[in-house]
Assembly symmetry: C2
Homo-oligomer: 407 residues x 2
């Protein structure tokens, strides 16, 4: 008998029929002798509809009110899922984030979990009652409803699994697991049977949307193993854990893409210490991704960085303002890019990954605009129209289209 935390995303609870399917799945797990705690998201479409209503009324809605508003999505789902379980004869009870004691800081719309008290969940587990917990939401130390940011239900599930000392956390979604590349781009992308948490975290950070990166980070920090799998069939998914057999033998585990990136270039900067500090202080509120600096003509430096497309005009304005204070230089939006990344633990101990990566791009006639690396990741910025060719070429170059675990 194991304690399993199951998380079902918005597409898995989208309508009455799917909620019923989730209830049946939970019942089946319980019938196998396991204890189950379920974390659910809002029905797909509900959160977006609420956001649209709010933004129609007010282009900059108050964040505290937005959290109160958005939390109703999950509150609906926990009640409906519990009601569905009752119809199947399964003892079940719902708990909001607050009732589950998910305490957060007061950063509305992007709160961080401080601790999880768990409320009466352990008692219900002992009584073999299924507990349905609202994902994505918590309660601040001031008693206000908070939300954990997009994909926050993953975070709720991982954090609950840790606090409840669950044996396994299952992340149910609308895909069968983690793939070596987006199957919509690469037709022969392979499902990965097992991946180590560190790689999964990098992949989630650079474009794999199947999991929230913060949730993976938390799973790594607290050593919570989890499985990503489909709620629409019974196929095994992808197991994500700290250590997997032969994990350093694989050079590249997957190829990720992040589209909708925009490049901004600040030119003619005075080449003196502290310039970059001033610029990026001005960009504190913006998520800056890749950065390169080079020295242009006459010893004046250029600095190019990428941001999400939606932040581009805000970032441009902030940099322009900072340059005016500096008294030198100009900023301009220099076009959209896509970021293609390869991630693999094996590249730490094996040379030549970067060379093979760049060669594959070159043979596909893809020009590399910017490069960044971490210990287990290499990313390049390229022309967004070449994304699909680039990903396919790189996927082939690392033999990711072959059966898993063989390079």
């Amino acid at each position: 008998m194991a304690l399993i935390v199951q998380k079902y995303g918005g597409t898995s609870v989208a309508d009455i029929e799917r909620i019923n399917n989730v209830a049946k799945r939970v019942k089946a797990t319980r019938d196998e002798g396991h204890q189950v705690v379920v974390v659910v998201s809002a029905r797909s479409g509900v959160t977006n509809a609420l956001v649209t209503r709010a933004k129609t009324l007010n282009s900059k809605p108050d964040e505290r009110e937005m959290d109160l508003l958005l939390s109703v999505g999950e509150q609906e789902t926990i009640a409906l899922t519990t009601i569905a379980l009752h119809a199947l004869g399964v003892p079940a009870v719902s708990r909001t984030g607050a009732q589950a004691g998910i305490r957060t800081d007061y950063s509305h719309t992007k709160a961080r979990i401080l601790d999880i008290h768990g409320g009466d969940i352990p008692e219900h587990i002992r009584n073999n009652t299924v507990v349905i917990v609202a994902g994505f939401q918590g309660i601040s130390t001031e008693g206000q409803i908070t939300t954990l940011g997009r994909g926050g239900s993953d975070l709720s599930a991982i954090a609950l699994a840790k606090v409840l000392q669950a044996d396994l956390c299952q992340i149910y979604t609308d895909v069968e697991g983690v793939f070596s590349a987006d199957p919509r781009i690469v037709h022969d992308a392979q499902k990965i049977d097992a991946i180590c948490t560190e790689e999964m975290h990098e992949l989630a950070s650079v474009g794999f949307k199947v999991m929230q990166a913060r949730a993976v980070e938390l799973a790594g920090k607290y050593n919570v193993p989890f499985e990503v799998r489909s709620s629409f069939n019974n196929n095994p998914g992808t197991l994500v854990k700290a250590d997997i057999p032969g994990m350093e033998d694989v050079l590249v585990r997957g190829v990720a893409v992040a589209k909708n990136q925009t490049k901004i270039t600040a030119k003619e900067l005075p080449d003196v210490p502290g310039v970059a500090t001033v610029l990026f202080k001005a960009l504190e509120d913006v998520m800056v991704d890749m950065i390169i600096q080079n020295t242009g003509a006459e010893g004046r430096a250029n600095l190019t960085f990428t941001v999400a497309k939606e932040d581009a005009s805000k970032a441009h304005a902030k940099v322009t303002e900072a340059l005016e204070v500096l008294g030198s230089g100009t900023a301009e939006i220099t076009g959209d890019v896509a970021k293609v990344s390869v991630v693999g633990l094996g590249m730490q101990s094996h040379a030549g990954v970067a060379a093979r990566f760049f060669e594959a791009l070159s043979q596909a006639n893809v020009n590399i605009d910017m490069i960044t690396t971490s210990e287990i990741k290499i990313s390049v910025a390229i022309d967004p129209t070449q994304t699909n060719d680039a990903v396919q070429a790189v996927h082939n170059a690392f033999n990711l289209n072959e059966s898993p675990h063989v390079q």
Copy 2:
């Protein structure tokens, strides 16, 4: 400067445009120098949609889960209304029932308010911040979300007005006030300018749907004056208060109709003491309305009573069961009836109201099936197909089509 509690019903906040109108109305009241606390219902249709979803999953959904489910309707509205007020530059903050300290007993789906702590609402009033409170919901002494039954937002508003010592409570709805009869039935029904609470309570109890009867009862008990008016125009509505000028001069204030009533007759009962007690103990869970008993042939008693149509089969089963225990008698559902009632404080001190009522029905060829009375009300059960004729005839007989306050 006055403190005004404004309650807006589901049709008044049905969509984004109407929520915006509510925000403008609140702003206008505040611009006149008043302090405003707003109570809102769920957007019309939302509660029904949630109930339908739950009942599709489970024909008998758990009441605790239903309360958690239904409370999301008002939670959405308070956030959206607050966000709309911010767009108009009005400082505002939303509070759920729990945050407003509306403490109830634990009778889920029909909880009674125990007390209202008010939370930080008085502080916000002092700071001239508008507080938007979720109607219909509270929190039980066990910390669970409860709801107050259909129309419960009226109750929230009246109770808040009492606790906050508001100068006035305004109940905004989709009609212009309280009418002498349903204007959809009686085309020359007149809007009532002022009505005393006791009459309003009787009218709400016997079929006037404009206000929840419990809310009117509470307003009477705590002497909270309120006004029923339309959120779609600026016409004055109906003032409801303990004393109005010349209130005993009016024989009949209004004619109410309750349709969807069903008659059940228990026949051949043993005519011994205690039979009625046994029968109505069996009916504890059913709201029984009119009751008549008469002695039939051979000293055996018949007993006929009415219930809401939806409760008829349940009531029939319970009575049949009780008769089996008694060892005598049979029960049958004996057809649908409509209840037509006249209400007026003046009938306490003026004879002849019943005679005039029955004569009007007789002249309209309406047969009277059952009769019940209270101090300020006479009700009859009639053939439901004759409802409209009956109401129009009675309305005419008491000259209610003439300008108000003149008989």
